[in-house]
Symmetry: C2
Amino acid sequence: MPETSTATPESLSQTLAESGLRATPQRELVFNILLKKRDHPTADEVFARVKAEMPTISLATVYNCLETLVQCRVVRAVNFERGPTRYCPNQKPHAHFHDEQTGSTHDIDLPPGLLDQVKTILPEGYDANSVEIIFRGKAQS
Amino acid sequence: MPETSTATPESLSQTLAESGLRATPQRELVFNILLKKRDHPTADEVFARVKAEMPTISLATVYNCLETLVQCRVVRAVNFERGPTRYCPNQKPHAHFHDEQTGSTHDIDLPPGLLDQVKTILPEGYDANSVEIIFRGKAQS
DNA sequence: GTGAGATTTAGAATTATTCCAATAAACTAA
DNA sequence: TTAGTTTATTGGAATAATTCTAAATCTCAC
């Protein structure tokens, strides 16, 4: 697994505060669950994991928390294909490798400068603030 | 708009035949509709356009036809974000630029070799058969 | 401790897509 | 052609993912 760069649980509260948002137990738990198992879970999967520790939480809250974390940029929402959105707490620039056999997704570290280099293919008049790269294929198991 | 490389309406019938599939009026019309306006429409949008020319077609058939065309590789299904799948008849290797202001999507031609170059960042054991690149930002209008 | 605003909650509503069973169309072999 | 088989289309029901809504709860500043 690549080295990862993420907000820590401690800094989450601060990041939220900077956006005028509160660090609620639900938000913290959802974030910690994402950190604990970095397998790009869907909202439903996050809900199941979170529920084990906080049985009263609702699915709507999980959606709300995930959306909040995405807004604060401590979590990335990922959409490869038809199907539910997946969530990723890795904030380091990285690509995704989607293993077509297993359906699993791996983070791929990007060499510094690659994204800028890729941006140079854009014609005049296009100003990209983000670049996403998705590989599909077979990974050694 | 970048130059595009697509199956022609004429060759569609042959491509389908190669997969043991029939060139039905519905499949041909769906494909022609995609060629006519290359704005990455959703299935619903395709349905609306197709219906204007063939009022009896059903939404299920539009989904079926799109899926068939994707299987035959004459159409690409694109998923950027939460929301319906979009369809693109451009078979030339290209990236997508998603204009966050307008919500529209532009095809970006790729210089030869770029995809192979990007693949070189993959660690040992990863074998990608496709690479997708998505830009997000602002395009000059 | 009160009031304002933020957050959570459960369930209803919506959206996108797939499934299903019946009909229709096209192809094959006699 | 014509019966038989396979393939495709159709409309509606079913499912899946997400968003909405309105009420209850919590938190913070005063």
